[in-house]
């Protein structure tokens, strides 16, 4: 890492330290000023005034994980597209506009293909319709 890179990233590191300082300062002020009277039932999770039933860490709707998977695909794709987007203008000015456009569009077509596939499979629907699942079976 060159000295130049260090200098440019130094404010980022300082900003991180300042953010941590703000957080720590607020917590310290609260620690000094706030009362601490543990006991009673106030450290039970809120469940509308009833005693909580079981743990909240239980099974969860699988749809959320599907959304996560689709996101990963699209995010990786867009990360790969950023370098192409960044040199797009320069390539166009150098007279290679059509060439870079074809590269860019082929990247986007992969993205489009992905979204079309997910759409066709019904992964973009939050509630998969009952009729569709019975039909495929």
């Amino acid at each position: 890492m060159s000295n130049q890179t260090l200098n440019v990233f130094m404010p980022v590191a300082i900003m991180m330290v300042i953010a941590a300082l703000l957080f720590g300062g607020a917590l310290l002020a609260a620690y000094l000023l706030s009362p601490s009277k543990p006991g009673g039932n106030k450290d039970l999770p809120y469940e509308c005034g009833e005693e909580p039933v079981g743990s909240a860490w239980s099974m969860f709707n699988v749809r959320f994980y599907v959304v996560g998977l689709i996101f990963i695909i699209f995010d990786v794709e867009s990360v790969l597209m950023f370098p192409v987007a960044a040199i797009f203008k320069k390539m166009n000015e150098l007279g290679n506009g059509t060439y870079i456009l074809i590269i860019f569009l082929s990247f986007i077509s992969v993205l489009l293909e992905g979204i079309a596939y997910c759409w066709k499979k019904g992964d973009l629907d939050w509630v998969k319709s009952f009729s569709r699942t019975t039909k495929t079976k």
Partner: protein
Amino acid sequence: MENTIAGYFLNFPIFQAIAETLGVGLTAFLIFFAFAGLFTVILATVGGFGTIAERKISADLQARIGPNRVGPYGLFQLIADGIKMISKEDIMPRSADKFLYYLAPFLCIFGVLCTVAVMPFSKNLILSDLNVGVFYAIAISSLVGVGIFLGGYASNSKWSLLGGMRGASQIISYEIPVTLTIMMIVVIAGGLSFNTLVEAQAGMPWNWYIFHNPFTFIGFFVFFISTLAETNRAPFDLPEAESELVSGYHTEYTGIRFGLFALAEYIEIFVVSAVSVSLFLGGYQLPFNILEGTLPNELLQFGSLFLKTCALYYVVIWVRWTFPRLRVDQLMSICWKYLTPIAIFNLVGTAIWVVAFDGQSMFQLFFGSGAH
């Protein structure tokens, strides 16, 4: 060093004199530290005033008066709120995951404040003009989503878990249209640093990227809607939907930790509005640069950015008090079936526009390049 705030201030004689005694490295460090602190204080104040603005504007829209007891027009309400939050007991549910419970508010405030490191407040009042600025901003601000999810998960409360899960899926989903729309601007500007993006919009409002071509005009609205969802604002406030999930991911948080979540949310709205102003609405650019190259000009540019951002902030609050909340399935279909295809369409359209018209904007095409 020339792309940073210290590089700018080291051109002034007084700082050169300091640099001679302390050395350039230490002076640069001190300048960075002072301005990072200054920006943090400004943003924390803005976030505090955001809570008042929210209550005042909502009161205005509903023909009420709103908070008016503390100070003139209730302006000191943020101090009262801050003192109240600091002096409340910090309770943690006994069955919570301690480490993650403490980590969650930190990630929220950390992710929001670190975005400020690349925010262009004016041409030179930018902590560091990273050559990957926009990319860095996207990356570091997604820590907020992690914070919200962890806050919901670690509390071990059913309401929190529902809010956290919804928050995570919502924030990651809407990151796709946001990223694609930013990429559209990158294609036009030809660089990832914020100054490259804003410098290209210099001059009159018709040079702003929102008016560059029809696709960027649509793109601005795609970006705006997506950022509403990214910051969990109504009509996309499902993670903390107060009428169905008590308070969502921060149900179990009390005192200062809840306050930090709220502060992070209001600062995030400001930061995200500032990013959309920088990308589409000309950022810090003034129509006339009379005082070019002087310090007052920097302050004017800062004012320009601040005014536009506050206008956008007003719209965000206005939207919140106008539209009803969406259902989860509507939220997901808006993101994946409408915004993402529209964003891809915009990206394709812009790429073809740039190649076909050699990067010229609509107004340059209509009025010749004299419209600069």
